[in-house]
Symmetry: C2
Subunit: 331 residues, 2 copies
DNA sequence: ATGAAAGCGCTAACAC
DNA sequence: GTGTTAGCGCTTTCAT
């Protein structure tokens, strides 16, 4: 049987209050008894039960993380940075993959509330913002990461997607590309990316006509298909901006099928700078998100909120960065 | 303030025992009161505290997962399958990335014990098996996944690495390759892979001489370096077996630098079939691990152990599978 | 400097 | 069918 604070107290010949104090380093304990109790605890292999302490202290030191899909490298990296920063601050994380499914989102939120997590980090997803609003109104410390919710007063960490799209276009323009196309998925963040992309073109007097293709999911296959549609046009683009890396790689594959060399005959630029971008061939020019900082900042924000060190909500906007590799080239 | 079972009982005009019974669907409750209580709970937005129930029931319905690195796609996928199966069975998971660091491993195990997780899944890592032995002797339900521990009586789910290596060699042999080389990292699983590889060669009377290169970590860069060493030899191999995908991709990159085309002039075969294998160019022939089944089986085993439905430990060995893509070719 | 005792929110006997 | 009550292992006043 696991030993309890009573066992320790008994064996050390002191009260449980005393043991509790040496565990938590609170109150005043003589050096002598502290050493005694510490020794006894070690000897018995005693580990204080955090669930019992959570009962009284009202803090579990665990954070719930709702994330679309842990097996997606982008989210996995984000989760890792959240985890790291959390552990650094004394928190464990409980990860729940939602697959962008509102039912799962709700189910997990309920579960996390029952488990009395100290706070929740919402990563991406959440097309229904009502759930978030409810959470907050119930007093659950909540931070939204990698997703902007303009209409809600909530702590947020995200990147400037508009700027990212803008940078992508600027890069292509600087290489002399005039005829560009876009492959995207209709998500909030991507809409901003496309908006930024268009903006940069417009500043040069270039219009992006109908050359926007919409993917239904973020997959290499989907990217390939849409890129094929773009490439079979007689007036095909010389450069493609894909709103995430898998779609971009799909475009590269499509080019290969059309006998077009990337980057010589077609430039491709992605977004996110996930593991894919480094490993594919040619290595992908892409817009990098500072993933580690995003997760870290999100956790910091949450912990401040939990500890009540912060009376105002805030939005932290980090900046994306162009990473030039080998999939883009002077025309 | 969050409402408690007392609030509900009071408002419904019943005792807390009754409320508890309707929550857990135990005992006998008249239809009428059940409906009444249910209504009141909903009205108050009451969520039973699992931490309070964990106190008495002695089960937190959470599982600790120790894993080397969540940001590695291989582990992330594994984690996802563990998570999925866990949720299916009513458990949440608490993920801890250990970076193969024994100190972290120990620290997290201690933490998980304090948090009273119902069981622990150990993924890979754990060069010190003593920690595992201790865990088990303390009665913590424990399952080891993606790692074999021949000397320990512990539930295990792993793959037949020997067979995987064997399959890799057979494939290369069938393509007519006689002069092969290996890039590996000195881990238990890889030793088996190499052993299987050699075995298949020997059966054809071929010896693998000194052509085994050892990487210090599993990275594209490391694979590239070692492959370069192999390729600059006048008597260079016609095929390379790398013990994981990143190393294999490194080899592909090296070949490119030497002006050798893959697969025409050099065949490369990897191991694991991670996301990398599908996305690189050329797509990698590799030995696939049934990741989803591994995680799933691990969780099943653990839950059986927790529920005491199983008196004997077992080892589940799943079989790897050759996936032929475009990085290998008839000589 | 140390201890006694009252909870924290819930479950599970057991009584009615 | 429903209620009473004794814990679960710990923290935290409040005495001493």
């Amino acid at each position: 049987m696991k030993s309890t604070i009573y066992d320790v107290a008994h064996k050390a010949g002191v009260s449980i209050a005393t043991v509790s104090k040496v565990i938590n380093q609170t109150g005043r304990i003589s050096d002598k008894t502290r050493k005694l109790v510490t020794a006894v605890m070690k000897e018995m292999g005693y580990e204080p039960s955090m669930i019992a302490s959570a009962m009284t202290r009202k803090s579990t030191l665990t954070i719930g993380v709702l994330i679309p899909d842990l097996s997606n490298p982008f989210f996995a990296s984000l989760a890792r940075s959240i985890e790291d920063r959390g552990h650094h601050l004394g928190y464990n994380i409980m990860i729940c993959s939602t697959d962008y499914d509102p039912d799962k989102e709700l189910k997990y939120i309920t579960l996390l509330k029952r488990k009395s997590v100290d706070g929740i980090i919402l990563v991406s997803g959440f097309e229904q913002t009502k759930m978030i609003a409810d959470l907050i109104s119930q007093g659950m410390p909540t931070v939204v990461v990698a997703r902007e919710i303009p209409s809600l007063e909530v702590d947020t960490v995200s990147i400037d997607n508009f700027l990212g799209g803008f940078q992508a276009a600027k890069h292509l323009l600087s290489l002399g590309h005039k005829k560009t196309a876009v492959i995207t998925r209709d998500l909030w963040s991507n809409r901003e990316r496309v908006r930024g992309f268009k903006q940069a073109l417009q500043e040069e007097g270039i219009e992006l006509e109908q050359d926007i293709k919409y993917a239904t999911d973020s997959s290499l296959e989907n990217g390939r298909e849409l890129a094929c549609q773009l490439l079979e046009s007689p007036d095909r683009p010389t450069a493609i901006f894909a709103c995430d890396d898998p779609l971009a790689i799909g475009a590269v594959v499509a080019a290969r099928e059309f006998g077009l060399s990337v980057p010589d005959q077609l430039s491709v630029i992605g977004f996110d700078d996930t593991i894919w971008a480094k490993v594919c061939f040619p290595p992908l020019t892409t817009i990098a998100q500072p993933l580690y900082d995003i997760g870290s900042a999100g956790m910091d924000l949450l912990v401040q909120e939990i500890k009540g060190q912060k009376s105002n909500k805030q939005r932290i906007i980090l900046l994306p960065k162009l990473v030039i590799r080998e999939s883009t080239m002077q025309i």
